[in-house]
């Protein structure tokens, strides 16, 4: 067991003793450091490195290369941990919206549509805004064109704000339901893709089922209320 050096070199700070490195007594720094269970606080102070330990043991030296290496490693670990957390959060976020641009934009047969139906369900139901945007993009249109077309098609019931439209374009493009076809004078034109057409067709089918059921039930209810009268 190496003996303990109790000569304080610098200061006593917040209860932690700072001692000089015991190198000149023939200790090997890495052994000394590794014998300290909590040798983990590192601070670079101009060209010297101070390592302090929770239990009050500290090594400091301009020439303590091994200690310096150890400290730099610990510091690097701490920094990379910070970075890792950031990367981790970023990965989680990017995993939640995986881009879906690899869908070929060709003609889709009826069979494909049937097998894909469960796959399509994750896009559905479309919001009213998204539904109308996809309808409007049957032909290439830029943002303002979509706003006008949707207002006109929906007879003024759906009006799109630019923030809503910008976000919808971004999401739909990422999902591969629309694609950019032209860019001129800072205006981008988009058009629906084959995938987008599939999703739209499935949405329309669902809406038809909904209206059929609705009409039937509402009709029956009206019949009952008429009969009661």
């Amino acid at each position: 067991m190496p003996e303990r050096i109790d000569t304080p070199l610098f200061l006593i700070q917040r209860g932690y003793a700072v001692h000089e490195c015991p190198k000149e007594r023939g200790w090997r720094m890495h052994e000394w450091l590794s014998s300290q269970p909590d040798a983990r606080h590192c601070k670079e102070h101009s060209d010297e490195v101070i390592c302090s330990c929770i239990d009050g043991e500290t090594a400091s030296s301009q020439s303590a290369l091994l200690a310096a290496t150890g400290c730099i490693l610990v510091k690097a670990l701490a920094v990379s941990f910070n970075l890792l957390t950031g990367v981790f959060v970023y990965v989680i976020i990017s995993l939640t919206d995986i881009p879906n641009n690899d869908i070929p934009d060709g003609d889709i047969t009826r069979d494909n549509l049937m097998t894909d139906r469960t796959d399509l369900n994750r896009y559905l139901p479309l919001t009213e805004a998204t539904y109308y945007i996809l309808l409007a993009l049957a032909e290439p249109l830029h943002g303002y064109g979509v706003m006008q077309r949707v207002e006109e098609m929906s007879q003024g019931t759906v009006r799109l704000g630019p923030g809503t439209l910008y976000g919808a374009f971004q999401t739909l493009e990422k999902e591969g339901l629309i694609k950019m076809v032209r860019e001129e004078e800072r205006r981008k034109s988009y058009q629906i893709t084959a995938r987008g057409r599939q999703v739209l067709a499935e949405q329309v089918r669902r809406l038809q089922v909904m209206t059929r059921n609705g009409e039937r039930v509402v009709g029956e209810l009206n019949g009952i209320s008429l009969g009661e009268r």
Partner: protein, 174 residues
Amino acid sequence: MEAKIERKFKWFWAWQDDKEEAWLEEMSRQGLHLKATGLPGIYDFERGEPGDYAYRLDYNTSHKDRAYYLQLFQDAGWEHCGRLGGWDYFRKPRKSGELMEIFSDRESKILKFNRLLTILVIFFPILLMLLTRDRRESDIAIYEIGRMLGLVLMVLYSLAMIKIIQRIGRLKKG
């Protein structure tokens, strides 16, 4: 004629964007139209005729395709009148029969606050780690001040996250 610039100081937290919009609209009714935003809490106004404007704030951190983004708003009648942090300030003269919102549905309004929340969530662990990692400086006073600032920042951060989550919750309920 040289336009007169008036500087005003007013502080809004990140979750008070609706209050900020209302205040800017009130300023415009008094003839003070937002000209530029500089540092947080500092607004430069141009003195002019009083006007009835809608002010709206969007939050975006991505900088790619900004020209296209601004063009889209401009085509819809919104004038870009400032940027601060990730916030974009837009203004449009109020006219009956025109849509006075930049977000026309609940989903996209929620997305705006989700973007804001994402940024807070990403930076929170970093702030936490900066704060918890021990740093013993020779000058203890400076160390303590730094620690205090960090703590205040963290309290604000937590408050912002809570407020924004509450806001999203209210929007979801409708």
